[in-house]
């Protein structure tokens, strides 16, 4: 699943490790989400959005067929 977690994370100057600690998951999970290899739960998505000060659609929205 494509997403903009990596871009959003870099925009707020966080490393994968820092973001992971902020939301209470492991760095590997953040890495897999950024690569699109893990499908996070809505709760985790919201935690990530809060950590990078963005809304859900800014980080996770993908256009259908796009």
């Amino acid at each position: 699943m494509d997403n903009k977690v990596k871009i959003s994370r870099i925009q707020v100057n966080l490393t994968q490790q820092q973001l992971a600690e902020k939301i209470g998951v492991t760095r590997q999970t953040i890495s897999l989400i950024e690569k699109g290899k893990y499908n996070p739960s809505l709760k985790l998505c919201l935690d990530i959005c809060n950590a990078v000060n963005k809304t859900l659609d800014e980080v996770f929205w993908i256009e259908k067929g796009g």
Binding site: G24, V25, T26, Q28, T29, L32, Y38, P40, S41, K43, L44
Partner: protein, 142 residues
């Protein structure tokens, strides 16, 4: 030990437990199968592993009832389902009890006892699934 909060790892952990459970079940079946071949059915059932296996099967059957209650489409009224199940159960237990009492060496009392035991054993899951369906219906109508 720190509690795992990462949802991905929790999920992975559950998947690992499932694999371990499959291996364990294969092992239990292997041991029971060996017992069955070498010493026969009665010896196999004396093995405590047999009890473990049966209890696990019963627990898993009851747990999967809540899944199938959610999975099935709920056009039928739960009460109607309950009545149909009860009629079938009464029919089966009556027939079995009848044939037991006809069998040589068994009296009418034996037939009645077997029938009643079968009836009770069948009644518990039927009532449980009725309770599950009813609960789900109440939730749907909220």
């Amino acid at each position: 030990m720190k509690k795992i909060t990462d949802e991905r790892l929790v999920l992975q952990n559950l998947k690992n437990i499932r694999i371990a459970f499959i291996i364990q079940t294969i092992g239990i079946l292997g041991i029971l199968g060996y017992d069955l071949v070498t010493s026969g059915l009665d010896e196999m059932r004396k093995n405590p592993l047999w009890t473990v296996f049966i209890i696990t099967a019963v627990v898993s059957a009851y747990l999967s009832m809540s899944i199938s209650a959610d999975h099935e489409d709920n056009k039928m009224n739960p009460l109607k389902n309950l009545i149909i199940s009860l009629i079938i159960l009464i029919l089966i237990t009556t027939i079995v009890g009848f044939f037991v009492s006809l069998t040589q060496g068994f009296s009418l009392i034996n037939g009645v006892i077997v029938g009643v035991i079968l009836f009770i054993c069948g009644l518990i899951p039927i009532i449980y699934i009725y309770y599950l369906r009813k609960k789900r219906q109440d939730k749907d109508s909220e």
